[in-house]
């Protein structure tokens, strides 16, 4: 028999230092996805005094299972990839305020003031916003109340919990169809509910879903309410053509209606595009001097891990140049 091995992963063992509100850092990085982590690596190598403020590390990558477009790996498990990022970042002993959301960013003279939901205010000379995106909610009655009890936003995380169950998927694009496929794989009966007229997912995905007999399609329908006391028991949908409502008995609902940028801390500070994404130039500069943007929260097209990581690196180097040119470093 093979003996098991003992593999040490120090990133699991060591808690990072907390950032200090009394210190004015050269750079604060907001966010913990690939853009933020890559920025942290580059900034550290430029000997900048920095800190990271984030809810968690990994960002949306944690919601994926396998990654097949990260250079150097034909296929790599998303968790393994994020863990390797994590270990890399933690090896630098950067102060991290983990589990913390930024509520507001202000600029006072040449200093950024970052207010967080733990009531603290952190300061820095330059700032990188890499707060990513989050799933857009349906904003219907019952949704908030039943999150985690039938209402789900991540098929990779939660699809296995719906083995052989009835599930509604709200959405009509690629993520809705990918979710449907994940659910079909575990034997669920799937009802897709599309708000707009016509399914927008790639033809190949649509074909895979539509060829099974375990799928019902409600095009041009709106989710009106999610019902249930302890758990989701039904979803009421309305035909947007004839306004007729129908109650669908279900064990759960996956909400796959797109993502919205986590721009709240800066929405009154920097210029955003019509989707609420932070507008950046090719050096990751925003409309506010000293504030740089990277990753999915920005208007840079193609939300990909490799692009986010590249943008993070660029933002860190641009922040470094900014501080040098301003004689702030």
């Amino acid at each position: 028999m093979d003996f098991p091995t003992f593999s040490l992963d120090t990133s699991l063992l060591e808690k990072a230092k907390e950032p200090e509100p009394e210190v004015t850092y050269d750079l604060l990085i907001l966010g913990g996805g690939p853009a933020a982590m890559s920025a942290a690596v580059y900034a550290t190598r430029k000997m900048m005094n920095l800190a990271i403020i984030t809810k968690d590390f990994g960002g949306q990558v944690r919601e994926t299972s396998e990654i097949e477009n990260w250079l150097g790996f034909q296929s790599i498990n998303a968790k393994d990839l994020v863990d390797s990022f994590d270990e890399h970042v933690k090896s630098f002993d950067i102060p991290v305020s983990l589990g913390t959301a930024t509520t507001q960013v202000n600029k006072e003279a040449d200093t950024f003031k970052v207010r967080t939901d733990n009531g603290k205010i952190y300061s820095s000379r330059a700032l990188i916003l890499a707060t990513g995106k989050r799933h857009r909610p349906l904003k219907v009655p019952g949704e908030k109340e039943l999150v985690g009890r039938g209402v789900a936003y991540c098929a990779t995380c939660d699809a296995p919990l719906f083995k052989d169950k009835k599930v509604v998927v709200a959405g009509g694009g690629n993520s809705a169809f990918t979710t449907a496929i994940d659910l079909l794989k575990v034997g669920a009966e799937v009802t897709l509910v599309n708000f707009s007229k016509g399914w927008r997912a790639d033809a190949a995905l649509q074909e895979r879903v539509k060829q099974t007999d375990k799928v019902r399609l409600f095009d041009y329908h709106q989710v009106v309410t999610i019902e249930g006391k302890e758990r989701v028991t039904a979803v009421v949908v309305k035909n947007r053509e004839d306004e007729k409502e129908e109650k669908l008995d279900t064990d759960g609902i996956f909400v796959e209606i797109g993502l919205s940028p986590n721009n709240e801390p800066v929405k009154n500070l920097v210029k955003l595009n019509e989707h609420g994404e932070v507008i950046v130039d090719c050096s990751c500069r925003t409309s506010v001097e000293g504030l740089f943007g990277a990753g999915d929260v920005t208007a840079v097209p193609h939300k990909q891990i490799v692009i986010a990581a590249g943008e993070g690196a660029k933002a860190a180097l641009s922040a470094y140049n900014y501080l040098i040119n301003k004689s702030l470093l």
Partner: protein
């Protein structure tokens, strides 16, 4: 035969420098060791040798059945961690793979006499007014 990788051994020596209080590791095996008992014992011998704050006692589950009973150990390999007192920490089976990190983390927590939980969690836990037997079942993959 050395169990730990050289690189990991060096890292552990550094990590264990943060321990400021003694940790006693008690391990139960038996004379006719199964491969997993032997593996666990050899690993613990190596780990406990990496800091002077760590000590290891190895006992025979069969010959010292009374002692095993006292610790509530009913299967082997069993690893028990002590600080100022018995915190109820038991590992059964080989703490291999990812679980090796859990063992090291527990050694650190006991060595610092600090479970690393927030004040909120600690005050919630303080409300527990009867013995609770928590068992986490894991696979080594």
């Amino acid at each position: 035969m050395e169990i730990l990788k050289e690189k990991d051994r060096e890292k552990l020596i550094e990590i264990f420098k943060k321990i400021d209080k003694d940790v006693k590791i008690v391990m139960f095996t038996q004379e006719m060791e199964c491969p997993h008992c032997e593996m666990t014992r050899m690993m613990l011998e190596e780990v406990s040798g990496l800091s002077d704050k760590l000590s290891l006692e190895v006992h025979d589950f069969v010959a010292e059945a009374e002692l095993a009973k006292k610790y509530g150990v009913d299967k082997i390999p069993a690893t028990v961690l002590f600080g100022d007192r018995d915190y109820g920490i038991r590992f059964y089976g080989v703490p291999a793979g990812y679980e090796f990190n859990v063992l090291i983390q527990d050694i650190m927590d006991v060595g610092k006499r600090d479970p690393g939980l927030s004040k909120e969690v600690m005050s919630e836990l303080a409300k527990v007014d009867r013995p609770v037997h928590l068992q986490v079942l894991i696979s080594p993959t």
